[in-house]
């Protein structure tokens, strides 16, 4: 039971991630255009949207692993579900922290009923309930089933929450970069690069977390 980072390829992966992140930050700071009136605040976009993308991606993985766990009853899927939900909620929290910071310079007031932010908030609240179920769901095997079911229910509600919030606040001037396609290419390419780096970072994080969970479960089993 060695350390996760004693294995050769894991060391390589974490090194690659560190280098790529540094390149990513330098790339964002230096060769992205300075949008006339937003100046530096616009550059938050390169971090804010990828972490939101990872949050929703990991909640999607929670749904998939929940579905697989319910059908195949294999503990492996539940570990993935737990790891994905933890990292997903971590990134959603990041989005909810950086959102208002980004909104103050651009729109003047911190919290704005913008569809994406509100969907993130609602999902974040649902996942607080998810971790409550994991803590108080009765004995472990049943708690895993309930958590998997909630993971599925939470994600199938994402499109509905997004749609209902979208129509609820059309009058608010929408997210600055809502039309991803028409962005000038020199904004788009660093954004795509940052998105890729964040996704790779996410894969390393989730593998590491699953390894630690297995260690934890393995340790309890022998007791």
């Amino acid at each position: 039971m060695t350390n996760y980072f004693q294995k050769k390829n894991n060391q390589w992966s974490i090194l690659v991630i560190i280098i790529l992140s540094i390149i990513n930050i330098l790339n964002i700071v230096y060769n992205t255009p300075m949008v006339p009136d937003q100046h530096w605040a616009q550059k938050i976009f390169y971090v804010h949207v990828p972490s939101a993308w990872i949050g929703f991606l990991s909640y999607f993985i929670v749904m998939i692993s929940g579905f697989m766990y319910l059908t195949s009853r294999d503990n492996k899927w539940d570990n993935i579900g737990l790891a994905a939900s933890e990292i997903g909620t971590f990134f959603m929290a990041l989005v909810l922290i950086t959102g208002p910071i980004w909104a103050t310079p651009i729109w003047g007031q911190p919290w704005v009923w913008e569809p994406r932010l509100v969907t993130t908030l609602i999902l974040f609240l649902i996942y607080i309930g998810y971790f409550m179920i994991r803590a108080y769901g009765g004995y472990i095997e049943r708690m895993k089933r309930n958590a998997a079911a909630l993971g599925i229910v939470a994600f199938i509600n994402v499109p509905i929450i997004f749609l209902s919030v979208q129509f609820w606040s059309p009058e608010i001037q929408s997210h600055p970069q809502v039309e991803m396609a028409e962005q000038p290419s020199e904004i788009l390419s660093p954004f795509i690069f940052s998105l890729i780096v964040f996704t790779m970072l996410y894969t390393v994080m989730i593998r590491y977390r699953v390894y630690v969970i297995n260690l934890n479960n393995g340790m309890n089993e022998d007791v």
Binding site: M1, N3, W40, L215
Partner: protein, 45 residues
């Protein structure tokens, strides 16, 4: 030229700081489990 620079820096510090913090927490909890497991194995044989 450097207006809103404060917001930019704070967001990046928060995001990458918390990610590094997360890795540190995982690393420490992993060591704790390995240590506990090592005591178990040592105690066992």
């Amino acid at each position: 030229m450097y207006n809103f620079f404060g917001y930019f820096i704070s967001v990046y510090v928060i995001v990458f700081g918390l990610i590094i913090l997360w890795f540190i927490i995982q690393f420490r909890s992993e060591n704790r489990f390995l240590l506990k497991k090592y005591d178990n194995d040592k105690g066992m044989n």
